[in-house]
């Protein structure tokens, strides 16, 4: 019978497997413990990002054309719906400006420099998205030069989409909240229920149903489907008030001692062409 591999090849494969498993586990461990990748990795990423940006031009144009065509199909009904909403937004904008001015004035009187809700945004464009099975990551065209740091939250569309996981000189990687790695979607949130706020932490992402999970909730508040979930700002890196999503389902946990809340993310994770990185003003 013809052999696929010789004995020597088999031994080499087994040794290589051990080395590779060590490499995967080691580099994963290293990436979690450092704020910036080593120089070689940063250099390769910056160079690759530059090349990718050039190549992205025609493919992005094709993608944008396809999206534009799809949007065109729903323009009429969408326009009618939006017109009905726009008057309300204009009123809210004026009210927001008044409240912001009042807030700034009160802060000044109290000699408060900045609070959990104060943040600035840095706009960035998506260069690339990892064509990978697990890590849902974006590469954006801003890096350490623009002031980005590991852990900063990233917004797109109507809500938070993830956080910065790796910062190179001129680009950065963003792990989406749908990323299943340990710390991609762990952030402190506040659930605004009709009977008061409920604080907790996003503990998981359910890939099977595209929902975030807020576990270990012991509060007795009346939590209903549609209640808004936003970041609480606890921890300092992520500002308060970033829209995370809305409550989709509340279920008791396996032991019946606490609740597990499933949240529908606010942002559309499939179509991200540009993002905003939120930079907290706390500590400045």
């Amino acid at each position: 019978m013809r052999k696929l591999f010789s004995s020597r090849t088999l031994v080499t494969i087994i040794v290589a497997l051990f080395i590779i498993v060590g490499l995967i586990a080691g580099s994963n461990w290293w990436a979690k413990r450092t704020n910036q990748p080593p120089f070689f990795q940063r250099f390769a990423n910056d160079l690759a990002g530059g090349v990718s940006r050039i190549i992205a031009a025609p493919t992005n144009a094709i993608g944008h054309s396809a999206n534009s065509f799809a949007s065109l199909m729903s323009t009429f009904s969408e326009n009618r719906k939006l017109k009905a909403q726009i008057d309300g937004y204009a009123q809210n904008k004026v009210r927001l400006q008044t409240v912001e001015a009042e807030n700034a004035s009160l802060k000044k009187q109290l000699k408060l420099k900045s609070t959990l809700t104060d943040y600035q945004t840095i706009a960035a464009a998506t260069i690339s998205r990892s064509p990978t099975t697990w890590q849902s990551q974006l590469v954006i065209d801003k890096g350490a030069q623009a002031g980005l740091k590991k852990g900063m939250p990233v917004l797109a569309g109507s809500g938070i989409i993830g956080r910065i996981t790796e910062v190179n000189t001129v680009n950065a990687k963003v792990a989406l909240i749908s990323d299943t790695s340990e710390d991609a979607n762990r952030f402190a949130v506040t659930l605004k229920s009709s009977t008061g706020d409920v604080n907790g932490i996003i503990s998981d992402y359910d890939s099977e149903t595209n929902r975030l999970v807020m576990g270990q909730v012991t509060a007795t508040n009346d939590i209903k489907k549609g209640d808004v979930v936003q970041t609480s700002g606890l921890g300092g890196v992520i500002p308060a008030g970033l829209f995370v999503g809305t409550v989709n389902q509340v279920v008791p946990d396996d032991y019946g001692l606490s609740k597990k809340i499933y949240i529908t993310p606010a942002a559309d994770l499939s179509n991200i062409t540009s993002v905003l990185v939120a930079v907290s003003q706390m500590g400045n």
């Binding site: 995967i24 493919t59 396809a66 998205r129 099975t133 590469v139 790796e166 890939s207």
Partner: protein, 174 residues
């Protein structure tokens, strides 16, 4: 003769590198289709290009295995930040296709079957490594239904589209 090797050594890795970036760009720009929940379709032009070299017996025209390891490492560094997963996936897939090549012939359908084996190997390796670094949370059924199946359909179609033009191109090189 020397020019033939030089041409392969110049053109092949450049196209390989180009496809590495095109894969990511396609994933970003075609996101509304490729990542429309629950689908997760991966464009694998890089793997298709590696498959063509095996199918058209061009691996001896240049340092093919260096290209495989190099592109795997670059993929890991640029797209995931963790070294190893895709280096192994590319190597496992290409080594298997290379070893099985003699059982297949040059007809397109035969070649596409060989590529399908390579593609499934590539995806399975990435699925398994997800468990090593504790980030895997999709059931095997969902993985097969929403990732492997649509990814295979897309990439087999792409591989079929480029089959004869690439065959002709490799003929010119040899």
């Amino acid at each position: 003769m020397a020019w033939r090797f030089l041409k392969f050594k110049l053109i092949y890795p450049v196209v390989l590198l180009l496809f590495l970036f095109v894969d990511g760009d396609l994933m970003a720009s075609m996101g509304p289709i490729f990542t429309h929940f629950p689908l997760h379709i991966l464009p694998t032009l890089t793997l298709i290009w590696l498959f063509y070299a095996i199918q058209f017996e061009a691996t001896n025209l240049g340092p093919y295995w260096v290209y495989v390891v190099g592109i795997g490492l670059l993929f890991d560094i640029y797209y995931t930040g963790f070294i190893g997963t895709y280096t192994v996936a590319y190597l496992a897939s290409t080594v298997l296709m290379y070893q099985l090549r003699s059982f297949f012939d040059e007809r397109m359908m035969s070649g596409l079957l060989l590529f399908l084996i390579g593609l499934v190997t590539y995806l399975v390796v990435t699925y398994v490594t997800g468990f090593i670094i504790n980030i895997a949370d999709i059931s095997l059924t969902s993985f097969l239904t929403f990732e492997v199946l649509p990814t295979a359909v897309l990439n087999l179609a792409l591989a079929a589209l480029g089959y004869y033009p690439t065959w002709s191109f490799f003929q010119k090189l040899s």
